[in-house]
């Protein structure tokens, strides 16, 4: 279960005052404290083009990301496959990333946990948490980390949508219920797929449109999704 501490962090992330902006940096420090690590950062982008850090850019996280991009190896690269890469002791994993591990150690990083920022096939980047001392994230910290990754994913999706369409329905930032787990109902994801085919847009945009529609109509996202799946509601272009 998600801790009180992390629940506070997630609420702060979606704070009204931060709408449209990158997640506030002070919250990254609070997130790191809640997870029991020394730093947390989030980067946009997948694949060989590397990531652009958009949250928690301290000197160490910037250097870590530069290293992984330059060397083409490291947990932050491997997370692209879609599964979390949790390395409680980098030294013990030196065989997997032979060049990265000693370089990370030189930065004082001995444990690195990389989580995909992902909702099904929507893949926006990665969340990375590092620590100077080896040691695993315990079960509670892991739950917190997954919840944080989901919240950051949604926040970044909304931020991207708002940047692409400043006057659009998503520009108000994440909606009040934004930190509710989206993975709760299968129909939400089915509707996302249907809307993406209806509008000819990416799944990421379809999900944002679905959430924005629910917000504007003041309905639950699950209800709107049920209407889409039952074909009582169709999304169309240029009619907001």
């Amino acid at each position: 279960m998600v801790s009180e501490r992390m629940a506070v962090v997630i609420t702060l992330l979606g704070d009204d005052r931060q709408r449209g902006a990158n997640p506030p940096p002070t919250v990254a420090a609070q997130a790191a404290a809640a997870l029991g690590v020394d730093g947390v950062c989030a980067g946009l982008g997948t694949g060989s083009s590397g990531q652009v850090l958009v949250w928690g850019q301290d000197a160490t996280s910037i250097a870590l990301e530069d290293l992984q991009f330059t060397l083409g190896q490291g947990p932050g690269m491997d997370v692209d496959a879609g599964a979390p890469v949790l390395v409680s002791d980098l030294e013990a994993a030196a065989a997997r990333w032979p060049v990265f591990v000693p370089a990370a150690a030189a930065l004082g990083v001995r444990a690195l946990f990389a989580l995909p920022l992902r909702i099904g096939a929507i893949h926006v980047g990665a969340l990375q948490a590092y620590r100077a001392n080896p040691g695993s994230l315990d079960g509670a910290a892991l739950s917190d980390a997954f919840a944080l990754a989901e919240a950051v994913t949604l926040l970044l999706l909304h931020r991207q949508a708002a940047a692409a369409d400043p006057g659009g329905a998503a520009s108000g930032g994440p909606q009040p219920d934004w930190s509710q787990p989206v993975t709760f109902r299968a129909q939400v994801h089915q509707a996302t797929g249907m809307i993406s085919a209806q509008l000819g847009v990416t799944l990421a945009e379809a999900l944002v449109r679905l959430r924005a529609h629910a917000y504007v109509e003041d309905r639950l996202i699950a209800e709107v999704a049920a209407d889409v799946v039952a074909r009582r509601l169709r999304f169309e272009n240029d009619k907001r």
């Binding site: 279960m1 599964a83 099904g120 096939a121 892991l142 739950s143 787990p181 089915q190 169309e236 272009n237």
Partner: protein
């Protein structure tokens, strides 16, 4: 085939899968299907827990919206939630007498035609990661042999999620579990894309997806990802068949 032969077959099949490169969602579907073949039950589903302790339907013996809804209704209260929270089997729960215990779930399950329900925990040492849900449409208790076989199948499902034999750290388990949950979300998204593009129901979309993956020897999760994000070159899967009626509005109206 005798029942014993069927049982051996099921476990040999599982072992064969686990030593090779396999798709976890497809594997869980096979396990759910085997439950219905081998046990005196009419439907089976596998539920996995996320970081909020919320259970998600990850695979089922038949992929129908009604059945998926029954799994989802157990998010707050139901046999799977009980098995997950306590780690103890819930066996032969009479739905007719469970209206106080699980009001919404009991009502919906009876409306679907089931009379009893069972939930077996997916356990790994001291951790419970989800539950195997079994439904019966006819009166009569599930025998002790069936419960034991069911639990063995639940254990096989757990091992399948872990995938890497011998590596039982909490981190690896969490990582695999998270990946299985994400793969399931991808499949739901792909069902939506396919349902819309071909003008079929989401249930039909799943069957199509699974059949296509099998016939072309593809991983279900990978095919789902490509279908969902539009990178699939499986033209015959995505194209609307010529002989189907197209909705009068056409794709860009309404």
């Amino acid at each position: 085939m005798t029942r014993e032969e069927q049982l051996i077959d099921a476990f040999v099949e599982a072992a064969d899968t686990l030593v090779a490169d396999f798709d976890v969602i497809e594997f869980l579907h096979t396990v759910a299907g085997r439950c219905v073949q081998l046990l005196d039950v009419d439907a089976a589903g596998i539920m996995l827990a996320d970081q909020y302790g919320q259970l998600h339907a990850t695979a089922a013996s038949t992929e129908s919206a009604r059945l998926l809804e029954l799994f989802e209704l157990q998010a707050d209260a139901g046999p799977c939630m009980e098995a997950f929270r306590t780690g103890v089997q819930v066996v032969n729960a009479d739905l007719g007498a469970s209206e106080e215990r699980w009001p919404r779930f009991a009502e919906a399950a009876q409306a679907t035609g089931f009379v009893s329900v069972h939930a077996l925990p997916l356990r790994l040492r001291t951790t419970v990661i989800g539950a195997l849900n079994l439904f019966c449409a006819r009166p009569g208790d599930l025998g002790e042999g069936d419960v034991r076989t069911g639990q063995a199948l639940a254990d096989v499902a757990t091992i399948g999620i872990l995938a890497q034999r011998g590596l039982y750290q909490a981190e690896l388990l969490a990582s695999q579990l998270q990946n299985a949950l994400s793969s399931r979300v991808t499949i739901e998204q792909a069902k939506g894309v396919l349902a819309e593009r071909r003008g079929i129901s989401v249930d039909e979309a799943f069957n199509l997806l699974r059949r296509y993956a099998r016939n072309h020897n593809l991983h279900l999760s990978e095919l789902a990802r490509q279908t969902a994000d539009g990178t699939s070159n499986a033209v015959e899967l995505l194209a609307r068949p010529q002989n189907t009626t197209v909705s009068p509005e056409g794709p860009d109206s309404a």
